[in-house]
Subunit: 204 residues, 2 copies
């Protein structure tokens, strides 16, 4: 489920606040969802709660982390070291959640050798070797839209099976490859749309 990371974060916050036990109601409020939905989601993982009491925060946290694969370390490759690639390489939220950036790749030869976030930028052609060496399963695309499809193809070819795409393009890949897309400007456009609707409704 796509909500597990949210629950995990909420549990971490609660744990840091010193809470040892919480009800589905509390956790749901912290995660911003309905309590029934939360309970149903958790029941898919197993019965980790106690009726009349609630959930043990740390225990549940560990169970969710285990289910999500957050207990192990995921090597990640980032392709495209522009502004966004820089920010992603430096983003502390990756490391703290079990993701380790093992390589930064860029097609631009001028960037090669540059050190970003303690990792040296290497040629894109090194992809295959790096994937094999570190057993990389997850790739991040932070290139311009024009290059994204080619990068994706080569990632798949090199053995990567999950891609996080920041380029504003629809990627065509095989069914066995999972693609997740984040479009920074799309979100802003949706907000602008709502503002626009608000404005036109007021004048009507």
């Amino acid at each position: 489920m796509a909500r597990l990371p949210v629950y995990l974060r909420a549990l971490t916050t609660l744990s840091e606040a010193g809470t040892t036990v919480c009800s589905s109601e509390e956790l749901a409020a912290a995660a911003g969802v309905n309590s029934a939905k939360l309970r149903k989601d958790l029941s898919y993982l197993g019965s980790y709660g106690t009726r009349g009491v609630g959930y043990d925060v740390d225990y549940l946290r560990y169970q969710i982390a285990r289910e999500m694969g957050a207990t192990r370390d995921w090597p990640v490759v980032i392709v495209g070291i522009g502004n966004l690639g820089h920010a992603l390489a430096n983003y502390s939220g990756f490391r703290s959640r079990g993701f380790r950036v093992v390589a930064l790749l860029d097609a631009d030869g001028q960037r090669h050798g540059e050190v970003v976030a303690g990792v040296v930028v290497r040629p894109f052609s090194d992809l295959r070797a790096i994937v094999r060496e570190h057993g990389v399963a997850i790739g991040v695309i932070a290139t311009p839209a024009a290059a994204a499809q080619d990068v994706a193809d080569q990632m798949v070819d090199a053995g990567i099976s999950s891609i996080l795409n920041f380029a504003p393009t629809v990627l065509n890949v095989g069914d066995h490859v999972a693609v997740s897309k984040v479009d920074l400007s799309k979100e802003l456009q949706v907000l602008a749309y709502h503002e626009q609707r608000k404005a036109t409704q007021e004048t009507a």
Copy 2:
């Protein structure tokens, strides 16, 4: 609809490729959605297609842009000029889609005066004046999670009615404020979850 930006992007691509007319089938393929869904979405805006022919690319593009408010200029404020804030301020996709970064704000006094993407970083306390001066309706939060709620409160107080939140926190705001959330590591975690499931299923 949240898919309008995708359609708009696909139409722009088609237009740049010299296409003047396209069928719902083609456009749906370019946008990565079902053609029936596309037609239904477009019919909400009005009847801009011609049966037996298709859609006029530029005409439809203009209509969608107008509906979305992309024909006008949206002033935007970014709060939190860390790695992510830097990248967002420099992100060309904002400017090209009608968003203009009118101010960069940060609570850290050491950053004040620094120029990022041609805009000077100012104290967070300038928020209200800037919002009033430029008529800002949209704010972007790129601060650490701990500061996000406070920033959001002050944004709402200053008159901002749409917030794009990059901090990994659930924001509590009034109903009249639209909040959109982008969680960079959440997407990676979902991918890792799928990888994890794949791995555990293979061993079973």
